[in-house]
């Protein structure tokens, strides 16, 4: 039999479900069956494989219709529990995004939490403003609502269910708080996300059964795939889905607001998709195991765009899930941001629904795109870079130079930063006026005794925005600019940056 020859149709599977005869396995059970009996036999025996995933999905949100008050209002601005709702829609329609932050509670509470609170039936504070029109005279409204009061609450998520996701580590010397969680310095840990062998798109790797119109488990209720998600990147194996479902029928066990410390808020979404085993090729991908699904560990210590973060290592979900991976021969702890336990539970609930005849499968109206890849955003306007602002005549010192001599240099040249270099100009340290004041008070003699050896540096082609952020993060007021050989080619200080800012403003 050919691998793409049809074994059974979705219609045939649905007939079996209605009769209570369908053979339904969770993805974990399917893997075990294939291991014991082989893929071919598993394909013959099994009608449906259920999948699940439960992780942070920032591109999620809900369309709401509040109904009209009397007198009515054309809401131009609106908040739910102080979280702004997008109001570029008709009078009482709005879209609440999961990543929107509360204007009063910041990172603690946001759109994701409001969605969870709505689903739990909690009372929500609604506030809206308007400019008033002949047809909508009201200019302000404040009340409380529950999900019951809304005409519609429809979850429409532009990007969910990433097929895989690259893992994260941190080579820098400070703790990073990211959307991948807490990343400890010096490769202190690895964070990853994704359900791996339970993930819906991994189990239908070639998008043969999942497409527009596919009925799915969504947040404890029923939802539908409405197309490929944003950033869908099928050629690299990073497919995504756009989905919708009735929030009123969902369960807060499978929709949870989350806060990432010093990053922002999001929504954890539970999704399960049934994979009809229509041919042997689908059966084969439905048996993919964690040790066959690879991702890259990327270095978030380098503040560049995601696809340019250096690849530290290529690993499998099995490696990551084992709790340790090896980087440069060192054993590094790894852990997940998404819940495997909940993903597994979702695959089990969906299996139960199908076995009980409560959930029928669908054939896609149209397939997901199998071609296409990601494009970056080109910044066409010229942004100021370090080269534009740095000073090229750098006063430097040598490590064996005396403290007093160095102090005189700072006073005469009216500077605060003194890079310390070798004879051939390579950077080995830095001293500031503060370091020198302390050195003199403590009667130290030579720069090499007092200089900071771990110097935070800039490069000529970096944007001012990036270096200003770095100076703020490290609480410093200047950085030597170095080339690839770590030779000092300039210096940039917060003074240079703020002068530029002032010039920019006065020119306007």
């Amino acid at each position: 039999m050919k691998k793409d020859e049809c074994i059974r149709s979705v219609r045939e599977i649905n007939e079996k479900i209605k009769c209570g005869d369908a053979v339904v396995l969770t993805a974990e059970e399917m893997i075990r069956l294939a291991e014991s009996s082989g893929v071919k036999a598993a394909a013959e025996e099994v009608d449906v494989v259920t999948t699940g995933t439960f992780g942070a999905m920032c591109s999620s949100g809900v369309f709401l219709n509040f109904g009209h008050s009397d007198p009515p209002i054309k809401m131009t601005e609106c908040w739910l529990n102080d979280v702004p709702v997008y109001k570029g829609l008709a009078a009482v329609d709005g879209y609440l995004g999961a990543a929107a932050l509360s204007e009063t509670r910041g990172f603690e509470y946001g759109g994701g939490h409001v969605i969870e609170d709505l689903v739990s039936g909690k009372e929500i504070e609604l506030r809206a403003e308007s400019y008033g029109t002949d047809c909508y005279p009201r200019r302000h409204v404040e009340t409380t609502i529950t999900i019951e009061d809304l005409n519609q609450a429809i979850l429409v998520n532009p990007r969910n269910c990433y097929q895989r996701y690259n893992a994260a580590t941190n080579s820098s010397n400070r703790v990073l708080h990211t959307y991948m969680g807490t990343l400890l310095p010096n490769y202190g840990n690895v964070m990853f996300t994704g359900a791996g062998q339970l993930n819906p798109l991994c189990k239908d790797w070639n998008y043969e059964t999942i497409g527009i119109g596919t009925r799915i488990f969504l947040g404890g209720g029923v939802g539908y795939v409405i197309g490929e998600g944003t950033q869908h990147d099928p050629q690299s194996g990073f497919g995504t889905l756009m989905i919708r479902g009735d929030l009123k029928r969902m369960n807060s066990r499978y929709l949870k607001g989350a806060s990432f410390y010093k990053y922002g808020v999001t929504l954890y979404v539970g999704i399960g998709i049934p994979i009809p085993i229509i041919n042997e090729r689908v059966a084969k991908t439905a048996t993919l195991r964690d040790d066959e699904i690879t991702v890259e560990i990327r270095d978030y210590g380098v503040p560049s765009r995601p696809d340019r973060r250096p690849v530290v290592k290529r690993v499998t979900y099995a490696d990551l899930r084992s709790g340790k991976v090896y980087i440069n021969g060192r054993k590094i702890p790894s852990s997940s941001l998404s819940s495997y336990k909940m993903a597994k539970e979702i695959s089990e609930v969906l299996k139960k629904w199908i076995l009980e005849g409560l959930f029928l499968l669908t054939e896609p109206v149209e397939s997901l795109p199998r071609k296409g890849s990601l494009k970056p955003l080109r910044v066409r306007r010229r942004e100021p870079i370090v080269r534009d602002l740095m000073r090229r005549e750098v006063i430097t010192a040598k490590p064996n130079e005396g403290v007093e001599e160095a102090a005189r240099k700072l006073i005469v040249k009216e500077i605060d930063h003194l890079p310390v270099t070798t004879e051939d100009g390579r950077l080995v340290g830095i001293v500031t006026s503060w370091d020198l004041a302390r050195a003199i008070a403590e009667r130290r003699q030579v720069l090499s005794e007092i200089m900071t050896r771990r110097v935070i540096t800039a490069q000529e082609d970096e944007t001012i925005d990036a270096v200003a952020w770095r100076m703020a993060q490290h609480n410093i007021s200047g950085m030597p600019v170095v080339d690839e050989e770590r030779k000092v080619v300039g210096i940039i200080t917060t003074d240079d940056v703020s002068k530029r800012l002032v010039e920019g403003i006065s020119r306007r």
Partner: protein, 140 residues
């Protein structure tokens, strides 16, 4: 038992821990250490109980080290926790792990009450108990 040893500036340079280890023969394990010229703070695990443990604690006290027993350190709200794992790899002592059915488990004995997991949790499910480590060890 886990205890926090607090060294004052007067005793911070003395090899007190080494002395206690060599005299009692106990394999005391350092879980966390913050030491500078001004003061020192160690969290150690003393693999003992009863009289021998009391003896070790008394030795530290006689040497001028303050000893605090670390009892309960963290509270995990099981209603909020989804067993994701966001707290696991940031934990410096591997006190948080997943068990065989993928549920988060917590090993009280390994916890040094550093609080890293509190911020790492996306669901605000972990609280550092206020008196974590501040409970004075029972004196002999």
């Amino acid at each position: 038992m886990r205890v926090r040893l607090i060294y004052s500036p007067d005793v911070v340079e003395k090899p007190i821990l080494a002395e206690v280890i060599s005299k009692t023969g106990l394999l005391i394990n350092i879980l966390e250490a913050k030491v500078d010229a001004q003061k020192g703070e160690l969290v150690v695990s003393i693999p003992s109980s009863g009289k021998k443990l009391e003896e070790a604690i008394a030795m530290f006290r006689r040497a001028g080290v303050k000893v605090e027993e670390i009892k309960e350190t963290l509270k995990i709200d099981r209603e909020k926790c989804i067993s994701c794992g966001a707290c696991i790899s940031p934990c410096p002592t591997q006190a948080l792990q997943l068990d065989s059915d993928w549920t988060l488990k917590y090993d009280e004995e390994k916890c040094v009450a550093c609080g890293t997991c509190v911020h790492a949790c996306p669901f605000d499910a972990i609280t550092l108990l206020e008196d974590a480590g501040k409970v004075e060890a029972r004196s002999s």
